[in-house]
Amino acid sequence: MSTVDNSVSGAVPGAPAPRRQPAWLELWPVQALLFLALLVAVWAVTEALNLVIPAYQGQILLFTGINVIITLGLNLITGVTGQLSLGHAAFMAIGAYAAAICTVSLHLPFALALLLGGLVAALFGVVLGFPTLRLSGDYLAIATLGFAEIVRVVNTNLKITNGAIGYYGIQKRVDLPLVAMLAVAAVAAMAWLENSRNGRAMRSVREDEIAATASGVNTTFYKIQAFAVGAFFAGVGGGLYAHTTTFIQPTDFGFLKSVEQLSMVVLGGMGSIAGTVLGTIVLTAAPELLRFMSNYRMLVYGATLIVLMIFRPGGLLGGVDLRDAVRRALMLGRSRTVRTSVGGDGQ
């Protein structure tokens, strides 16, 4: 179930000449400035929002933002590069504990702690990436699952993580504007990565690894890179999580959490950033929205997953080219992209 968006400009004979972006927009300093402006705008909007929105809904948005950062990482590993990972929560755990230890025991500044959390997680991403080179498909999946369980057991037994009792005393340093900015930055980073050479290489690994290798793509390198970057995002998300709940335990990052994260990615449409964001929003908000039917909540959740997969197996936004859809919706004229869909396994 993979749909590759191949933008082929000017490839359709008889179509009007493709509109190009003005030249100055392509310059990287301009893009960087525009991006910064976007971030500032996001910050301003969410600051204002923060004052208006009731705390309960704000809290939900905050967790949604954190989850978006984490699931974007999983989307890179599983959706874009096609490596099924059932243990993503382990990277979140590693980032959470690392960041927490940095601020609480080592008294490092928060931003540095977040960064370190992400980097340590990325390191483990590489560590996990290496042995999985020879594994494919479901063997890889179970290996990632095993890895996550091992991380959980280790966290429960180490002195430095305070074991089952949990790590507490973490300061609450996270608020909605911060998470919003980081989430937007994450989306931007992912979009940039996916459209780069690296991203295309990763997609080729997903599509047909043998063909990719035969074409000279260093699949090993890109698989590991996917794990590293994906883990980094999860680690940063984990650090944010720790500094929101102020107290973490190994059980917070168990198999069910990994499953939740995978569901968010698949639900929204694998390989699609917007899909991942949408899936995350839906599944983070769902338990809250379903609170009124508290006893049956999880029943509905499970059934929803089944039903959604049956009726839209590609995910909510799977197979949808977002720019096309937006353009069509806004009736901005014919799109210059040609969409090709490649059927078959997302493997």
Binding site: M1, S2, T78, L84, P131, R134, L135, S136, G137, D138, Y139, A141, I142, A143, L145, G146, F147, E149, I150, R152, V153, V154, T156, N157, I210, A211, A214, F255, V259, L262, S263, V266, L267, M270, N295, Y296, M298, L299, Y301, G302, A303, T304, L305, I306, M309, I310, R312, P313, G314, G315, G318, G319, G343, G344, D345, G346, Q347
Partner: protein, 295 residues
């Protein structure tokens, strides 16, 4: 030495239960390449069915096992029909969609049991008087003999079935090459249903045995058991029936030996650590077929 033997027996008993569940995983995977996440819950329903039969109808041991197997067979078929078959038909569905659907089914079933029964752990009434046999210094309980015995019986039965019956042959053909098998006249849907039925029956039996052996039945018992059984199936080489047995026994033994070596804190990690180590050396599992991808 006696203590070591004792722990070996403990490990074999535990491993037998994992092996029974692993068989279901491996058979289904061999045919349709699906990780049936809901197997843990089918195992759990088997345990509860056995409990129900014993409590309400005063069923004896054998009736409880048969009854549970009958029920879980039906349950497995229903799950297959509702959650997996529509996805096989659909053009858009890849393996991951089926996986998510399986996860949804798993969550649904365990929550259903919580609603039906409550989350508390319940024990099995005593079905027979325990006796301990001393063998080389190790004391083996009747329970353990029961577990190992019944499991072995079921596994041998399955092996004979797959090897010597027409249906068994059809199943094997399907797992080797689905298209070719269909061309040879194998009714794919029927075979898949039968595979699910057998796997679910085994899981149900495992559930009752586990309920009796551990004397603990609770709605979330399927989660961990399912994970470890799946690891066992992969360890042995997914798709390989003897592999599932070997994998299950190995993981059970590893866990118990870990406890014996005073490393019980790390016991859950053992199963997975062994799995990863084996996969590093032999990526298709211990008894799995090396898949040569032709381009």
């Amino acid at each position: 030495m006696a203590q070591f033997l004792q722990q070996m027996v403990n490990g074999l008993a535990l491993g037998s239960i994992y092996a029974l569940i692993a068989l279901g995983y491996t058979m289904v995977y061999g045919i349709i390449a699906l990780i049936n996440f809901a197997y843990g819950e089918i195992y759990m329903f088997g345990a509860f069915t056995g409990l129900f039969l014993v409590l309400t109808w005063k069923a004896n041991l054998y009736l409880a096992i048969f009854g549970a197997m009958a029920f879980t067979t039906v349950l497995g078929l229903v799950v297959e029909r509702v959650a997996y078959r529509p996805l096989r038909r659909s053009r858009n569905a890849g393996r991951l969609s089926a996986l998510i659907s399986a996860i949804g089914a798993s969550i649904f079933l365990s929550t259903l049991m919580v609603l039906l029964h409550g989350p508390a752990t319940t024990g099995f009434p005593t079905l027979f008087q325990n006796r301990n046999f001393v063998l080389g210094g190790a004391s083996i309980s009747l329970y353990q003999i029961l577990i190992i015995g019944v499991s072995a019986l079921l596994m041998v039965g399955l092996d004979l079935f797959v090897r010597y019956t027409k249906t068994g042959r059809a199943m094997r053909a399907l797992s080797q090459d689905a298209d070719a098998a269909a061309l040879m006249g194998v009714n794919t849907d029927l075979m898949i249903a039968i595979t699910f039925a057998i796997g679910s029956a085994l899981a149900g039996a495992a559930g009752v045995l586990a309920g009796i052996y551990f004397n603990a039945v609770q709605p979330y018992m399927g989660l961990m058991a399912g994970l470890k059984a799946f690891a066992a199936a992969v360890l042995g080489g997914i798709g390989s029936i003897p592999g599932a047995v070997v994998g299950g026994l190995l993981i059970g033994l590893a866990e118990i030996m870990g406890v014996a070596a005073k490393l019980s804190d790390w016991k859950d990690a053992f199963a997975f650590a062994i799995l990863i180590l084996v996969l590093l050396v032999k990526p298709s599992g211990l008894l799995g077929r090396s898949i040569i991808k032709k381009v």
